[in-house]
Subunit: 366 residues, 2 copies
C-alpha cells in the first residue's frame, strides 16, 4: 500500500440523514402554516434561465438569488404544490423503507394514487423541484438513474444498504468491474492506495485498461461510464475527488460527443445548476484530443454535418472557453476529422496504455 489517506467517515449516511431532516422540515413548515390557518406555501430558488449563471471560477452552473413561491392562495399553484408535497412524502417513505426507485417508478406510483401527472416530464420536474427545495440530489432520497456503470481498482468500501450493512467490498474482486448502482453509490469509502481516478467512456476500453494493468502501473481507480455518465456515477467521481482528494482524468473518443461526456462530469449541466453534488470541476479532460489524431496519425473519419453542428454549439458554450478545449475545438475545425479511442489499436493493443496514457498523464500531472 502507498501512503495512507485520511478518509472521511460516515459521509453517505450523513447525507441520507440530512436529506430526511430536510424533508421533515418541509412537511413541518406546511403543517405549521395550516395550523396557523395560513395558506401553505413553499419557497424555492428560481430555475429559469434568467437565474442560471456559469461561474467561471467554480467551473459550474450556479443559481442566482431569485426565488419563487408556490402558495395554496393561488389556485394555479394548487396542483404543483400538492404534487411537491406528495413527492416529499414518497421521498421520505423511500428513505424510511430503505427502498430505491427511479423517476419512472415515481411517475407510476403517482398514477396508482390517482395523482394527476400529465406525463413523465411533469413528474420529473416535480422531483427536480423537490431537489431544489431540500437542497439534496434525488439520489440522497433514493431515486436513482436507470443506467449502470462500473468501477475497478484498489478501493475498499463499506455498504450501508439493508442486508449488507457493515459488509465490505474491494473493487479488484472482478476484472470485468463492479457495477455502480444504489448500493455502491451510498457506500462509505474505507481504504484505497490509488492516487488518481481514470474515467473511460467504453466498456471494452475499460477492460483493456484492466488487462494492461493501467490501474496497477499508474496507481489508478478505473471507472467505465457506458457513454454519458449516469448521475450516480458522476456523484461517485465527485466523492472520490472530494473525500479522497484523488485527481480525476477523463478519456473519451475524439469527437464532439466524447468532449461532452467529459465536460458534463467536470461542470454538469444548466439543468442541474441547483445540485453541486454532481460536478467535479478539477477533473481534467485527458483525451483523445483532435491534436492526437495528427500527432499519432490515428485512423480517423471525416466529421459529418451533425458533428460540425455540434462543434459549433460547443464552441459558443461557456464551459468550453478555457484550455485545452479552445485549442482542440479549433483543431477539430481545421482537420475536420474524428477518431475513436480504439484507433490506437493500429499500434497494437498495448500501445494506448504503454505509450499514450503514460505520456498524457505526464503532461497533465507535470
Amino acid at each position: 500500500m502507498a501512503k495512507k489517506r485520511k478518509i472521511l467517515k460516515g459521509v453517505s449516511q450523513a447525507r441520507k440523514k440530512d436529506s430526511q431532516e430536510a424533508l421533515k422540515a418541509l412537511a413541518e413548515g406546511i403543517i405549521d402554516q395550516i395550523r396557523k390557518a395560513d395558506f401553505p406555501s413553499v419557497t424555492m430558488p428560481s430555475r429559469t434561465t434568467d437565474n442560471i449563471y456559469f461561474d467561471k471560477k467554480l467551473k459550474q452552473y450556479v443559481l442566482g438569488g431569485k426565488v419563487v413561491r408556490r402558495t395554496a392562495r393561488n389556485v394555479t399553484h394548487l396542483k404543483p404544490l400538492t404534487q411537491l408535497v406528495w413527492a416529499g412524502y414518497i421521498a421520505s417513505t423511500l428513505l424510511k423503507e430503505n427502498k430505491t426507485s427511479t423517476l419512472r417508478d415515481v411517475f407510476y406510483m403517482a398514477e396508482g394514487e390517482g395523482l394527476a401527472f400529465e406525463d413523465q416530464p411533469e413528474s420529473d420536474r416535480i422531483i427536480t423541484e423537490l431537489e431544489s427545495v431540500i437542497k439534496h440530489p434525488r439520489e440522497d432520497f433514493n431515486i436513482f438513474p436507470e443506467e449502470r456503470s462500473a468501477m475497478f481498482g484498489n478501493l475498499e468500501v463499506e455498504y450501508t444498504v439493508p442486508g449488507y450493512e457493515g459488509r465490505r467490498l474491494n473493487f479488484t474482486m472482478n476484472p470485468d468491474g463492479i457495477v455502480i448502482g444504489p448500493a455502491v453509490a451510498t457506500s462509505e469509502f474505507v481504504d484505497t492506495d490509488a492516487d488518481k481516478v481514470i474515467v473511460i467512456e467504453k466498456g471494452a476500453m475499460f477492460t483493456r485498461f484492466v488487462e494492461e494493468k493501467a490501474w496497477k502501473r499508474y496507481n489508478a481507480l478505473l471507472i467505465y461510464t457506458a457513454g454519458q455518465a449516469p448521475r450516480a456515477t458522476r456523484a461517485i467521481i465527485r466523492r472520490l475527488n472530494v473525500e479522497l482528494k484523488l485527481p480525476v482524468y477523463l478519456f473519451a473518443d475524439a469527437d464532439p460527443w466524447g468532449l461532452h461526456i467529459c465536460q458534463v462530469i467536470i461542470s454538469g449541466s444548466a439543468n442541474a445548476a441547483h445540485i453541486p453534488e454532481l460536478v467535479t470541476p478539477s477533473a481534467k479532460w485527458a483525451g483523445v484530443y483532435a491534436s492526437d489524431i495528427v500527432k499519432y496519425d490515428l485512423p480517423s473519419t471525416k466529421l459529418n454535418e451533425q458533428d460540425i453542428k455540434r462543434l459549433q454549439e460547443i464552441g459558443k458554450d461557456p464551459r468550453y472557453q478555457s484550455e485545452p478545449w479552445k485549442t482542440e475545438i479549433n483543431k477539430f475545425f481545421e482537420i475536420k476529422k474524428k477518431a475513436e479511442q480504439e484507433a490506437f489499436s493500429r499500434y497494437g493493443l498495448s500501445f494506448i496504455v504503454d505509450k499514450y496514457l503514460k505520456s498524457r498523464l505526464e503532461e497533465l500531472e507535470g
Copy 2:
C-alpha cells in the same frame, strides 16, 4: 444450500483449447496445400439466406448443407482469403497472449498492418467467416462485445484470465451486480444453490429484484441485460442452462422491442445460424405479456406506428409461431397498448416481486 449440483469442470478452458486447435488446423491446411504446390483454399458452410433454416424442433436457425470454397486459384477470392488467414493469425495471437479485444480493435489492427478492409462491416464479415470455419463463436478466440451487462445471486465462479487464475468470486458480493465481461464469460462455474435464472431487461428493475430479495425467495440468479443482451451474456445464459441445468425465465417490457430482447436469447438470429453457443431454446418468455396489461390494469400507452409495423414483422417471423407468442401478439393488436415493467409500481414497489413474479413463475413451472 439446497441440493448440490454436479458441475462440469474446465468447460471454459476446454473451449479455448479447442478453438486454438481449430485455428492451428486451419493454418496447417493452408501450409500443406502450399507445400504441395496447390493453390491454397478454405471450405466453409454457406451463410446465404438460401442455406439458413429455422429448425422448429431445435427452436433456432441452422445452416443447411451448402458449402462455399475460397481458393487462391480465383483472383477475386484472393483478398477475402488473405483477410481470413490474417484474422486466424490475430485470433491465435489473442489466445496466446491472453488479451481480449473487440471487432472494432480488429478493424484498426488491420489498418495498422496495411491490410485493406474497406470499412468495419467488411472486417466484421471476415470474423464471422472465421467463426463458421473453425466452428467457434468469436468469444472463444477473445473477441468480445463492447457492451456490458451484470449478474447477481448465489453463484461461485473460478477465473481463468491472467492474474486471476484460480481466484473465486461469489455473485452476491455486490448488491448492484457484478459486471459480465470477458473474465466472467470465461470463468468456470464452481458452485450454486440457485435453481433458476431470471433475466431482466432494465438496470433499475434488476436492483428492485435484488432489494425485494427475489433471488432468495425464488432461489434465482438474476441477470441484467441492459436492453438487447450482449453476446457474452447470451453465452453465459446458455452455459447456466446447459452446464448447471437451470431453467431460464425472461422479463422485458410489454412491447415488440421487449419481445425481441427475449426471443434473441431463446433462438438467436439468422445472422448467427452458424453459432449454436449463443441460444437457449428452453428459456421461457415470462412477461410482461399484453394480457397482463389487461389483467393487472397497468398504466399503458398507445402503440405507435413504429410499434405496429414491428409487431406485423414479428407476427410473420417463424420464431414467433408458437405459444404464448401467437396469442400475446394478437392481444397486442387487439388492445393496441404497450406497458413498461415499472408500470407495476402503481401497486407499490414490492408488488412486481411479491405478486406478479410469484404468480407467473407458478404458471410457467406448473
